[in-house]
Structures are given as structure tokens and as C-alpha cells.
Symmetry: C2
Subunit: 242 residues, 2 copies
């Protein structure tokens, strides 16, 4: 029985797991858990992941959630996975644990704080929260500076590596969430960090064509959001002239 991977491609850790499985030729079944229609709260999904979040996997009788834990598991459980994704060398492996842990409270929290409170929340009928968005952006910008000056200072990929690891897929998928912002905002935030921009491109190339294919839904959403924002901006302009 093939590995079952429960995901919503609009979720950045879900995309990381999918891209990883595809680039490594892991035989799996993708099962969509539509967050927009609250499918993660169904009793069936509660039995898979009681935390009611995506992604989660079921491999035979073994169930697992939390994307970093899943990526590490896949590296160890599937012998065909090349060692650069999760090196056996203790020092290299420890640095990957370190950047993945750092990610939780920094890059991820910043990106989610900004994108949720400016785009996702309001589009789902939640009140916008300018203060939370501002704090999110502050943490995001601080995290991008640390990526530029520390995590990417010694190599093309994180922790000074010449080849990508699970950390690169994980963190780049997170940053891709910024595509949901307006082009102007995305560029204002991201463009000062040249190494980061280059690293995103390098990670895309290293995981092509799966990276773009899995992000297809995000680009569709981006188009819709940007059109809606443009319409609202025109509406506001008309209103202000009345």
C-alpha cells in the first residue's frame, strides 16, 4: 500500500512534503484536505491528525504529522532518497535541525502573521488586524536578514551546503506564500535580500518541474487576489472622488 499524504496545496508545509515526494520518486497517494471548506475538522481527518492541520501522512499503520518530522521520516524510511536531503554526518544534520527549529519561531511566524492578517483572513470574512500584520512583517524582515547574512553566507543552500536539504524546500515554500501579496509589497519586502532571491531560484531549479507544478494553485490564487485588490482599489478611488 502506497504512502498516503494528506495535504492542501494552499498550505506551505503541505507543498514542501509534496515536492519532496515527487523529486525523490516516492510512490504516494495525494489526499486533499480542503482547508477552505474546513475538511480538516471532519471526524475522518481527526483520526489521521488530532491537531486538525495539514500535512499528515499514513505509511501502513504509522501516522505522522508536523511537516519537518514528516520530511525527516521520509528521508530515513525511503532508501532511494539522496543523502544531501538529510545528511548522515552528525554536524551537518545538526545544523539542519537548527535551521528547521529556527524556522518555526521566525520565518514561518513572520510570514503567516503578515499574509494571514492582510490577505487570507480578510478574504475569509475575518476582521483584518493591522497591528498583527505589522508585527508579522517586522519578524519576517528580520528573518530574511538572518537568512541573507547567516544561513546563506557560506553556500548556495542553507547551512553552507552545495546541494539542497529538506530545510531549503521547507523554508522556500514558506517564502512563496508572499506571492499572495501585491507585486509591489512582495518586491518591497523581498528584493533587498539578493542571496535570498537567488536561493529561491536555485531551490526552484533543483526541484523542477515539481516546484512550479505544486505551486500552480498558489499562482491561480495570486491572480484572483490581485484582481480583487485592483477592483477594490478602483472602487475606493471612485468613492473618494464622490
Amino acid at each position: 500500500m502506497a504512502l498516503k499524504v494528506y495535504v492542501d496545496r494552499m498550505s506551505q508545509p503541505s507543498r514542501a512534503v509534496l515536492i519532496f515526494c515527487k523529486i525523490n520518486g516516492i510512490d504516494f497517494e495525494e489526499i486533499r484536505v480542503d482547508i477552505l471548506t474546513n475538511k480538516q475538522f471532519s471526524p475522518e481527518y481527526k483520526a489521521i491528525n488530532p491537531m486538525r492541520q495539514v500535512p499528515a501522512i499514513v505509511d501502513g499503520r504509522f501516522k505522522l504529522f508536523e511537516s519537518h518530522a514528516i520530511l525527516i521520516y521520509l528521508c530515513c524510511a525511503f532508501p532511494g532518497v539522496a543523502s544531501h536531503w538529510y545528511p548522515g554526518d552528525l554536524f551537518k544534520r545538526s545544523k539542519i535541525h537548527s535551521v528547521l527549529d529556527w524556522h518555526h519561531s521566525n520565518l514561518r511566524r513572520g510570514t503567516v502573521g503578515l499574509v494571514f492578517n492582510t490577505i487570507i483572513g480578510p478574504l475569509n470574512g475575518l476582521p483584518s488586524n493591522a497591528q498583527a500584520a505589522k508585527e508579522g512583517e517586522k519578524l519576517l524582515v528580520r528573518s530574511l536578514a538572518k537568512l541573507e547574512d547567516f544561513w546563506l553566507k557560506d553556500g548556495r543552500f542553507l547551512t553552507g551546503s552545495l546541494q539542497p536539504s529538506i530545510a531549503d524546500i521547507s523554508l522556500v515554500c514558506e517564502i512563496m506564500q508572499l506571492e499572495l501579496l501585491s507585486e509591489k509589497d512582495r518586491d518591497r519586502i523581498l528584493s533587498p535580500y539578493k542571496k535570498v532571491v537567488q536561493w529561491i531560484e536555485d531551490t526552484k531549479k533543483a526541484t523542477a518541474p515539481h516546484f512550479d507544478e505544486v505551486h500552480g494553485i498558489l499562482f491561480k490564487a495570486q491572480k484572483k487576489f490581485r484582481e480583487r485588490m485592483a477592483t477594490e482599489s478602483v472602487k475606493n478611488e471612485v468613492k473618494s472622488k464622490m
Copy 2:
């Protein structure tokens, strides 16, 4: 040259690393980085950990930060560490990664949100933030319920284990931060979760006498905070009668 461990015992992940080293008889030098006087921002410490947080370790030429990554490294680098702390079995190990990842965005974020915004921040001259404290408590209570109903449902320790792992030390040290609240608030939050309360006791026993010794500074701070809160409460009472 012995392992160097950079810590402030008021920080919960610092205490987790110290207790782990002591219970496993690891030869190490404890180097205090006093957060209260901003020693983490010194140029010397920046060279150890550019993220300017504790804990961090230096083992020979190898530097590492992020407490979960450090605990995993110590389990692998020191052959004397018993396997229950970080099992070699892939399924058991993966569950430990999962609970440690979950910790970042749930129990830790909830506890820090509550304790920082009600106690630590205001005592350090920062404005108190009732909304952030309320959100922290909400996330903390939700996390305690998940510990009770899921993570502790199958055994004395996390993920159904009969012996403690690095996750137990890590998460219990986090919950110990609630000792800084008033006794009434601590009990109101914690006492509904019987399994959690028992698990804290079991983890203390499994790591005695180091657990209490390393937490000594926290209990001293608790005494001081509670005395100060009592004085301020009397002052407010007198004011309200004037």
C-alpha cells in the same frame, strides 16, 4: 576540552539542556549569559550565536543553537546517553520529532505569550499587553488539553513512552515557567489537567536531583515576584479605599 554550554537558567530551554547534561553525566562547563543585563547582545556572544539567544553550545570547533537541535546532538555525540532519550527506532524517533515541532507553535508560544505579557515584560519596564496575554493563555490551555488527551494518552511520558525522552524534559521545563504566575493563576490553569500534573511530577522524579537544583533560580524569582504582586495588591486596595 569539555563541552561549553551557554545558558541563562531563567530561560526554559536553557534549563532543559542543563538538566539533560547533568542526568546523563556529560562533562560540561556552564557559561552564564545574563539575559537581564543583555549579555546575549555582546560581540563575544554574537560569535557563539548570531541569533543572540540562549542556549547555545560549543563542542570543540562545532557551534550549535536551538535547544531541540542541541538535545538531539548531545544524544548522538555522547555514547553514554541511554537510548530512551532519543530512540534509534525510526517510528519512535519520528514521534519525538513531531511532538518537539508541535511544541514550538503551541505550548511554547502559549506559555511565553502569557508569562511574558503578564510578568516578565512589566517587571522589566515594558508596557503590559492584556490582549497578548489573553491570546497566550488561550493557546496554552488548548495545548495543555492536547497534552492531556493526545500526547499523554498512552503512557507515563510523551508519545506513549514508559521512560522519558528529550521531549519530556523540554516541554516540562516550558510548563515550569508558569511557576512565575500567582499560585492562584497557576493552579487555575494547570490543575484541570490531571495527567499533565502527574507527568510533570514523573519527569521531575526521573531527573532528580538535577531538576530541582537547576530550577532553584526560578523558585527564588517566584518568591520575589509573588511578594511584589502581594505588595502591589495591598497598595491598590489602600488606594481604592482613599
